[in-house]
Symmetry: C2
Subunit: 340 residues, 2 copies
Amino acid sequence: MTTIYDIAKKTGYSPTTVSKAFNNYSDVREKTRLDILRTAQEMGYVPNAHARTLTTKKSWTIGILFVESTGVGIRHPFFSAVIESFKQVAVAKGYDLMFISKDVGGKQSGYLENCRTRGVDGVVVFLSDYTDPYFQELLNSDIPTVIMDFETTQSHTVCSDNSAGALQAMEYLVSLGHRRIAHISGGMNTFPGRRRQLGYEKALDQWDLERQESYIVTGEFYTLESGYEAMKQLLELPERPTAVFASGDLLALGAIMAVKDSGLTVPGDISVMGYDDVDLARYVSPALTTVRQDTALLGSRAAEVLFDTINGSEKGLEALVLPTQVIVRDSCAPPAVTGR
Amino acid sequence: MTTIYDIAKKTGYSPTTVSKAFNNYSDVREKTRLDILRTAQEMGYVPNAHARTLTTKKSWTIGILFVESTGVGIRHPFFSAVIESFKQVAVAKGYDLMFISKDVGGKQSGYLENCRTRGVDGVVVFLSDYTDPYFQELLNSDIPTVIMDFETTQSHTVCSDNSAGALQAMEYLVSLGHRRIAHISGGMNTFPGRRRQLGYEKALDQWDLERQESYIVTGEFYTLESGYEAMKQLLELPERPTAVFASGDLLALGAIMAVKDSGLTVPGDISVMGYDDVDLARYVSPALTTVRQDTALLGSRAAEVLFDTINGSEKGLEALVLPTQVIVRDSCAPPAVTGR
DNA sequence: CAGTGAACAGAAAGGGCTTTCATTCTCTAA
DNA sequence: TTAGAGAATGAAAGCCCTTTCTGTTCACTG
């Protein structure tokens, strides 16, 4: 492995000058610099990031903290979409991304410890369970963080406007003429789930819609299966809703299957609306009407906020809330005019 | 930041002993070790991975090299599924994962350079274009690598048996009674695409099926759109195929759309088979009959092979080829008995 | 011609950890 | 009692790089 000492020896300059040449110090003559750079090239020199980090305390590494309970991991479409766009900004600024795990070197520890050990310059956080004590520990630390899909005053946060998104969805359904609209909630233990349900409830007030306890059913973990079960319940109601707003696309797909299985049609008998606009929403039949989150923007804005902090801008904590958009496809229609 | 020197000072032992205590050297008395560990805990000591790497030349980091042309990045379902399972093995063995980009610190360089700079212990490679000169450079280096979805004698490789998978697909179609089977190829410039097409052609021979130039159409980039276009072409053929084997699920979905748009049905008029079994294959209608790759196994086997190499097992190069499986759903049926 | 400042270069001290080798201490056996 | 064997500990060098501070040279200025 070639080091700056080897280059120093070969060129006759000191290691100091070699280092300076690489770091564009002004007190190195251009000719000297070129000489050193050329020799370095010839000798196949590659700088050692660890040695550099050791002295500069800067690792040019961002940690990705991503924990969710269902085991899909990276495959999670929302996560991967956001991270992809985050990554582009990061790479452009010279940072690389590293996954942070809870245990380091086989030993049970915590995120914070792993972050410190690895010396990351910042962390981007995706968590389904924000009550995780290890996460709290990280939050209380001085490591720059940006948290996705959550709100707290302890860190920068970036999320889309879940409540308003739900409201938009409801507005669309109302505009089609629906009055009996049910909600398949993602559950109150995830932040977006809570917010979307809140949006749903706001909508009930706002347009003075029928409010029934039984119109809110919870589908755990945003899975297709739980969406199916939730819809089954809704279908058995004496006063069946004419439309259903599901807190996630998979929930909506499950709901659609349940409707079909019970011999009814979507959107003929029941309209179903999703949330997220995952890839497959356009491919299913009927294509899913849903609320899209701007994942690309979420990722890039998060990156910008984080790098601003890392570079010491004193803007104070940012709580970005990004707008959503209703994507109209084929799973919603005006309610059937039934005997009344 | 607490260092071993701080602990040394506080406990009265030397830094050497402190270091040894952490690394379970046998020449540290148990009492001493416990004393040191407790003090470390109290002082909030966290080891510095960079310092350690600097001396040991081991970073406990695996680089992920993933480059593809279409811009989906991490969202790529095959990639993310494999990496997720790879990651689990890696974390269990104490390694963390880091994305390797082509340019390091804003400067254009190469994967190899970035790997060396970051001092990764190994690399797992996903590339759509294996002729990339930067990749060749890495391949020729001495950094342990495992390459997914590719075969070469210069590195470990892990891929599923694309050719056999295609053969299985064809076998299934033949078993349904099809004789005029077309192929929507992913193109010859990706390794899996080539192999699958090879399997298709083998099948033609094996079952003595109708062989027509025009039965092979290429859908670039495995996109839905190109699948659609490819199918359009096939539909215009004077002697229309009764079944189509597509090299990827999105191609197949596009094909199905084209069939529907032309007023025909799947599988009534034409059977369509995919490859990959992406998540959405089960959700579309008709649910897609396809060939599944065992992504979990691909990832974990790749990890094992790589860690074996890193830990110096001298097993020689491995070229793992994993079996595939036909997943029967609703997009294939026996050919319609047309006027003959 | 002394004095000044710019331009260029290098010595040396770290940064936090590991590892080799030497040293000290404590027993045991003769 | 003492040589010798372990057991326990530590000194010091090294990993590769950055940065501060000092030193030298040289071209000018007044």
